[in-house]
């Protein structure tokens, strides 16, 4: 019997598992996709009603619930699509140009 779980193949210098099985999960978070952004969402926390609609619609899943129950985008990953600003029922989010 071959112990498939522990067999490693070598391609060049890289060791890979059989079937290219990845044992880590959620490792794409190593890449901070926030660098793709040209517009940045700015939330007016005074206006935010904590409904979570931005959170439910964000394609990145990068909107974070704060301790006070309000929502804000994690700018490490936000690609600046603007869905949250467009869908916010109380218009608490505005998109502003990213400046270096």
């Amino acid at each position: 019997m071959i112990d498939f779980e522990n067999v490693k193949l070598k391609i060049g210098d890289t060791e890979i598992t059989i079937g290219a099985v990845l044992e880590s999960n959620g490792s794409t978070s190593n890449l901070k996709t926030g660098a793709w952004r040209s517009m940045r969402p700015v939330t007016d926390l005074e206006k935010c009603i904590s409904c979570g609609i931005c959170w439910s619609l964000c394609p990145e899943g990068c909107i974070i619930k704060r301790k006070d129950g309000k929502f804000e985008a994690d700018l490490d990953y936000c690609k600046g699509c603007g869905i949250c600003a467009n869908e916010c029922p109380v218009k608490a989010i505005t998109m502003v140009m990213e400046e270096k």
Partner: protein
């Protein structure tokens, strides 16, 4: 804990490589939330496969298997058979999903086979209406009049000249116990339909309409607005077929439909219908056919079909 009617747990990690404003990425967040942690996911080749697994990284926090373009339904069949043999088929959800290219065209035979065998799994199609990952080629799901790289609009062409394939009724002919049409514009509705599909025993199907700003040449910020507009204009009616009986969710009143023009004119793939001159005939044709389709669905629902 639930936020906006959805579970708080996140099974798709940040840092995936989807375009800004990707409707399919929102769709996948909904699918994984509905499936929950006791799930095995199977996926075909497509946008979501490419954006979620840039080897050796993965965005998934659930067991996820990538098949070929055509066979996630066959893999799901195998998994469901294995779970049955182990006597744990009620504890683990098997969810297969693919884009419209894999579902409507390349994998249709395999899906048909799995539905005919009556295997216990749910198939979800995130439908963005063309082969987006390979560069916007037309698929069986591309709607009439849309310009793609293989159905380009020009002086002699109005884009794709065939109507979109009616996948739900193709699968309804397989006597599946639950089929539904959903849109990411209505996330809680979509979530409930996917839950229902997973909870129903046997092969079930949900067509989840998802915007693609890259392929549709639309504003990324309007991805959700467009998915809502598609429903409000009747282009994508939301309905279920439960044990062969139609239930139409929305829209339910043909006289109150928004004109399809509102939906068409905000998308670059339909730009040729408005420029250089407005092509009334084509727009009317789409409008009439949309009304006809909805009337048929409402009639089915009324007569208990």
């Amino acid at each position: 804990m639930a936020i906006a009617g959805l579970p708080e747990e996140e099974y798709l990690s940040c840092g995936h490589r989807a375009c800004a404003g990707c409707g399919a990425a929102t769709a996948i967040r909904l699918i994984t939330k509905a499936a929950g942690k006791n799930s095995i996911l199977v996926e075909s080749t497509g946008c979501i496969e490419v954006i979620s697994t840039p080897y050796p990284e993965t965005a998934w926090k659930l067991p996820w298997i990538h098949g070929a373009f055509e066979n996630p339904s066959s893999i799901a069949s195998g998994i469901s058979a294995a779970l049955k043999a182990k006597g744990i088929e009620d504890e683990i959800n098997v969810v297969a999903f693919g884009g419209d290219g894999s579902t409507y065209d390349i994998g249709l035979g395999h899906i048909s086979g799995a539905f005919e065998r009556g295997d216990n799994f749910t198939y979800i199609c995130y439908d963005n209406e063309a082969y987006m990952n390979t560069g916007i080629q037309r698929s069986g799901a591309t709607p009439y009049g849309a310009s793609t790289t293989t159905s380009p609009a020009g002086r002699e062409s109005i884009g794709k000249v065939e109507w979109k394939k009616d996948i739900i009724h193709i699968l309804a002919a397989h006597k599946s116990p639950y089929l539904a049409s959903a849109s990411i514009g209505y996330p809680t509705d979509a979530f409930k339909k996917i839950r229902k599909a997973i909870e129903t025993k046997g092969p079930t199907f949900v067509n989840l309409f998802a915007t693609c700003p890259t392929g549709w040449r639309s504003d990324p910020a309007k991805s959700i607005e467009l998915a809502k507009l598609a429903v409000e204009t009747g282009v994508v009616p939301l309905y279920e077929i439960i044990n062969g009986k139609h239930v139409v969710g929305m829209p339910r009143d043909i006289s109150k439909l928004k004109p399809v023009e509102e939906y068409l004119k905000v998308q670059g793939r339909y730009r040729h219908l408005f420029r250089p001159e407005k092509k009334e005939m084509e727009i009317n044709f789409i409008q009439e056919r949309v009304k006809e389709n909805l009337a048929l669905l409402l009639e089915y629902a009324e007569t208990g079909h």
